[in-house]
């Protein structure tokens, strides 16, 4: 069984040979530490995913600079301000759409722009169907809220829902086309990365999620399904208040069931494990950055014990392999999954 087949079997709710491993992102400094040099292009990231024994790799649609404000800050093609930190990670700062008039003057970017897709092109043409390749997009929350500035957008939900709908439509329509372009290149699955919640709960009222955000997500999920591939939804935070509506959009998998936000892997598996594939949730807040190898192995065992039975489960960190994660713990997570995540095998 190839890593790609292993990951796809889990996404289809089946039982592969071993619990598959997936990370939505390994930050550049960690990749640099593993490679022993600065990563230069998509294939260096691919090398790390592949050599470390992960079953899938993801490439996010990243902000495309259209105007530099200084050496480290820029405005991207969604009118958002970003800043690159000293450790080479790009962070969102604020939006520049201050009114409906600003938005009416704004033109969304071209989803088929080669610069958005060249990393996927490169990796898929060299992959030979070994790793599952996932295309990372957004849905109807992150881009609109970042264009407006998150606080402004959350106020808009109450005061100006018609403006919100226009913002969401622009983001959703763009991302449907981007997903189609990624699928035409050959990705095996699409993931959307919009975070809807923080540790205490969703950033918006469940009513606003249901009426404004979820329909846009459903449109994207339906478009991806029409092209014949599965859809993974990522969101951090405590999402129980919106979980039913989120699953009602038809998503095939949910990542990462954040343990530090009081999300229970066991609970989500028990309630929804026959409807969706569960991806998570090795603690990346405490255990992977600060724990011992033994604590990491125990955390992996916990995850497998809670969610692997019956298939439809992919093991991953509870967010991504960020700068503070110890490489030895990351490696221990992978080795322990290979050791303790073997499914019952057929008697021949």
């Amino acid at each position: 069984m190839t890593p790609r087949e292993r990951l796809l079997e889990a996404l289809y709710g089946e039982e592969p040979d071993i619990v598959p491993l997936f990370e939505i992102e390994i930050n550049k400094p960690v990749v640099k530490e593993i490679l022993g040099r600065n990563p230069n292009g998509a294939m260096d990231f691919y090398e790390v995913y592949s050599k470390f024994g992960l079953d899938g790799i993801n490439f996010w649609d990243v902000p495309v600079p259209v105007k530099y404000l200084d050496a480290k800050s820029f405005i991207d093609d969604w009118a958002r301000i970003w800043k690159t930190s000293t450790n080479d990670v790009t962070y969102y700062i604020n939006g520049t759409i201050n009114s409906i008039e600003d938005f009416e003057k704004f033109s969304p970017p071209n989803p088929y722009d080669y610069s958005r897709l060249d990393r996927l092109h490169q990796v898929i043409s060299n992959n030979k169907d070994q790793l599952a390749v996932v295309g990372g997009i957004h849905d109807g929350y992150e881009i609109p809220s970042q264009m407006r500035g998150v606080s402004n957008f959350l106020i808009d939900l109450y005061r100006n829902p018609s403006f919100v709908k226009k913002l969401i439509d622009a983001a959703v329509n763009f991302n449907i086309e981007l997903a189609k372009a990624m699928i035409d290149i050959g990705v095996d699955a699409i993931i959307s990365g919009d975070d809807y919640a923080y540790k205490q709960g969703p950033m918006m009222a469940p009513k606003h999620f249901r009426e404004l955000i979820a329909p846009g997500l459903k449109k994207i999920v339906d478009a991806v399904h029409k092209k014949g591939i599965p859809f993974i939804k990522h969101t951090d935070g405590y999402i129980y208040p919106i979980l039913e509506d989120l699953i009602g959009t038809g998503i095939d998998a949910l990542h990462p069931i954040e343990p530090r936000a009081n999300m229970s892997l066991k609970d989500v598996k028990d309630k929804y494990g026959e409807v969706i594939c569960i991806i998570g949730n090795v603690d990346v807040t405490n255990v992977l950055p600060f724990g011992t190898i033994e604590e990491t192995v125990n955390e992996v065992k916990r995850c497998i014990g809670e969610a692997a039975s019956g298939g439809g489960y992919i093991l991953s960190s509870s967010n991504s392999i960020h700068n503070a994660v110890k490489v030895d713990n990351f490696k221990a997570m992978i080795d322990a999954t290979r050791k303790y995540g073997i499914y019952p095998h057929i008697v021949k």
């Binding site: 087949e5 796809l8 996404l11 289809y12 709710g13 089946e14 039982e15 095996d188 399904h225 092209k227 014949g228 591939i229 599965p230 095939d252 494990g273 026959e274 497998i304 014990g305 692997a308 039975s309 019956g310 298939g311 439809g312 050791k339 303790y340 073997i342 499914y343 019952p344 095998h345 057929i346 008697v347 021949k348």
Partner: protein, 103 residues
């Protein structure tokens, strides 16, 4: 949703209703002890790989027995879903039991 896995065969799924451990055992390279088990599964449908496939009435709810090597605690959970291998699926749909798939 099967564009990317074209050529891969349909797979039946069911719910585990019983797991009977036999006396047969083996050790793997890492020293784990595996026990041969007879797993009883009640058929419920096909996996998401073939979302439009409907379970034929002749096998709906049928209790079948599968042979598996089991080792870890989480292998012995009852009421969980079980995915059948393509050859097991075929044996059931053709109503031709084998040594490892029977009813």
């Amino acid at each position: 949703m099967s564009k990317k896995v074209k050529g891969r065969q349909e797979r039946l799924q069911g719910r585990v209703t019983n797991i009977e451990k036999t006396d047969e055992k083996k050790k793997d390279e890492q020293g784990n002890l595996w026990k041969k088990c007879i797993i009883t599964v009640e058929l419920i449908g096909f996996s998401k790989r073939t979302p439009k496939k409907i379970l034929p009435m002749k096998v709906k709810g049928k209790q079948i027995k599968l042979l598996r090597w089991c080792c870890f605690d989480w292998h012995y959970k009852i009421s969980t879903r079980k995915t059948l291998e393509p050859n097991e699926t075929k044996a059931i749909l053709l109503e031709k039991p084998t040594i490892t798939t029977y009813w």
